[in-house]
Structure formats: C-alpha cells, structure tokens
Symmetry: C2
Subunit: 103 residues, 2 copies
Amino acid sequence: MATKVLPQPERDEIRVEAVLQALGEPVRLTIVRALADNPAGVCCGEIELPVTASTRAHHLKILREAGILSTHTDGTRRISVLRREDLEALYPGLLTGILSAKQ
Amino acid sequence: MATKVLPQPERDEIRVEAVLQALGEPVRLTIVRALADNPAGVCCGEIELPVTASTRAHHLKILREAGILSTHTDGTRRISVLRREDLEALYPGLLTGILSAKQ
DNA sequence: TCGGTAGTTCGACGATCATCGTACTACGAA
DNA sequence: TTCGTAGTACGATGATCGTCGAACTACCGA
C-alpha cells in the first residue's frame, strides 16, 4: 500500500524542455494518455505497449525524471500517477491541449 | 511583399508528436518564444541564436513542417509567423501553457 | 550586369536516443 | 526457504538528431 515514492523532481525543478522532449515520443505519449484516463494511477505493466519491459521501464523513468508522473511502490507493483496539479500550475493548459488531440 | 508562402501542413495534417518533438529542443523553443513576442512575424536572421545560419534554417524547417510556424518570402527575407490559430484550435491551451513557463 | 545580402541544401561528423537481451533486486505465496 | 512475478539496471547496437562548413539559389541595388 503505497509504501515508497520513487525519486522525482520538485515542482520548481521541472523544466519545460525536459517535459516537451519527454512528451515528444509516441510510446511515452501513449503512457501519458493512459495515465490521464486513470486518475487513480496505473500499474506499469497494465499499459499495452509495443515494447519490451526494459524499454517500458526506460520510458517511465524519463517521464518521472521530467516531472510528468509520480511512481510509488505497492508490493512488487509500481503505481504511476500523472502529476496533473504540478503541470497545471507550471504550464496551465498544456496537458489539456495535448490530451485534446484527435489521436 | 509577401509573395510566396513556403510549403506547410494543413491544419488537419498537424500531428501532436511532431509538434511536441519540435518544441522539445532549446533552440527551437527560443524561436517560438521570439515569434510569440512578435505577432506580426519575425525575420529569421533577427532572432539571436547560438548557432550558424544553416542550423537556424534547419530548425525553422522542422518548426514549419511540424505546423508550428508559417513562412512567407519578402524579397530575400523570409518572414516567420506563429500559427497561433491553428495550434489553439487543435490543442487549446498548449501554447499558452508553454509560453507561461518561467523561462 | 555585377556584387552583396539572405537564406537553403547537401553531405559529414559526433552525440544522443530508443530498443533489446541479460542479469539483477524486491516482494509475496506456498 | 524456495519459487514465481514485477520491475529495474546495465551494456550494446542501430537509428535519429543537432551541428557545421561549403556550395548553391534568389533577390535587390548600384
């Protein structure tokens, strides 16, 4: 039950370039969309992706280090949640704009 | 005076991945910010950038092909304008969010 | 017509990146 | 404790990307 939170940048440490660069990759964008659809958080493995587990972990790390998502442990599972509040505070409208894209 | 418009994607041809990937580069983000400050358009060479002319042309091409800016000729000059309306229609709030970043 | 100016195109090069397989850690169940 | 599951870390590899200089095109003024 949400025992530990993996290292992530504070709100004031988040940089736009890192956020945009992280979002500019199809697989990562898919992950972000999946998280947006599940406000309660999603277990990494539950998102269907055309890559192996190690690549998946790689992308999740990039998203976490960019400040886009937060990950906490739950047994052997890792639950990821979109950092909506932080992103909205820093770049109001950005997430909404991206998620409103046709596909 | 504004004789020709360089090839660019129609609004419905613009893809989010391309837009985000284009914006996720420091030099290109600088260009976009400069264009946002000058709604009337900016001549490429007027933006101060830490790169050579050829690299500058390269970045402008990527931004144009992503659908972020529009370029028309004016004699030997090329005037670039941010495609605010198109971007706002496709991804409402995205530009505002990005431009509101501290730096 | 002849520069000169503004910008693009074309390789080329080095750096970064996405991907993978393998090995590893951490946890829960039997 | 032993096994299976969930996920990470570590190279390695091939592809993409940012950068540059040099050569080229287009336009304007003298």
